[in-house]
């Protein structure tokens, strides 16, 4: 079940990308407004918004083998 939920997350990621494609095309043409919107996205990426918590690399906790783990007492 977890696997299916994980997969649904993957689908959502890809679906969002596909929606971007569909949203831009109207009657076989990509209007100027959509082109301008795309440029604004590039400007935002150029500004470099990588500061959110989702971009933070958190080191994995070190797990000691049970035989060498300190006695909690």
């Amino acid at each position: 079940m977890n696997a299916l939920l994980i997969a649904s997350g993957a689908i959502s990621i890809l679906k969002a990308a596909m929606e971007e494609i569909n949203a831009q095309v109207q009657d076989g043409k990509i209007p100027v407004e959509a082109q301008q919107a795309q440029l604004r996205k590039i400007d935002a990426i150029r500004a470099g918004d990588f500061s959110g918590p989702e971009w933070e690399v958190v080191p994995d906790p070190v797990v000691l083998p049970s035989s060498t783990a300190p006695d909690p007492l």
Partner: protein, 173 residues
């Protein structure tokens, strides 16, 4: 154990269904995404030239007032960069939001951390060569742009590979 919550599950076709259905859906979506990342997004429509008072930002107006044909290569590059950014950002955010539930599949966090570590530089580089191509659309700059886009494409494919591998393994039919 906490179960991972899919983000943006706002449509019935995003609800978990049978493994066979999921497999078909994933395959078709992945194929479409791969095609689009390869540059087909452009094949899905032509760029409107606009009007003299509101020209295409990818075209513009000549000195004599004629509408220029918009630069499809630049538009496609921007599309690939923007789509890659949103896909990778959505992936790392999804991994963060579901980290506890994904603890049993450490490959997902490892992939997300690799993307986190490299994304800023990859996008910075892609935008830089994009700007170079926009200013001077030579074959050399176009080639450099394609190489930068290839890096982003690999990053997107890595995210997809790890996240999709889980339900397709024989142990998780």
């Amino acid at each position: 154990m906490e179960r991972p919550r899919p983000f943006r599950v706002d449509s019935t076709d995003c609800q978990p269904q049978s493994p066979a259905h999921m497999r078909k859906l994933l395959n078709s979506i992945l194929l479409a995404a791969a095609v689009c990342m390869a540059g087909c997004n452009s094949g899905c429509g032509t760029l409107d030239k606009g009007t003299p008072d509101k020209p295409s930002p990818y075209g513009g107006v000549t000195a004599t007032g004629e509408m220029k044909t918009p630069d499809r290569v630049l538009y496609d590059a921007d599309f690939a960069i923007a789509t890659s950014y949103s896909t990778i950002r959505n992936f790392v955010k999804w991994e963060l939001d579901n980290r506890a539930a994904l603890a049993s599949t450490p490959g997902v966090k490892k992939a997300a951390d690799r993307l986190r570590a490299g994304a800023k530089e990859w996008f910075k580089s892609a935008v830089a060569v994009r700007d170079a191509y926009a200013a001077n659309p030579t074959a050399e700059n176009r080639s450099a742009l394609q190489k930068a886009l290839d890096v982003l494409q690999q990053a997107v494919l890595e995210a997809n590979r790890y996240i999709v591998a889980q339900p397709l393994t024989p142990e998780n039919p």
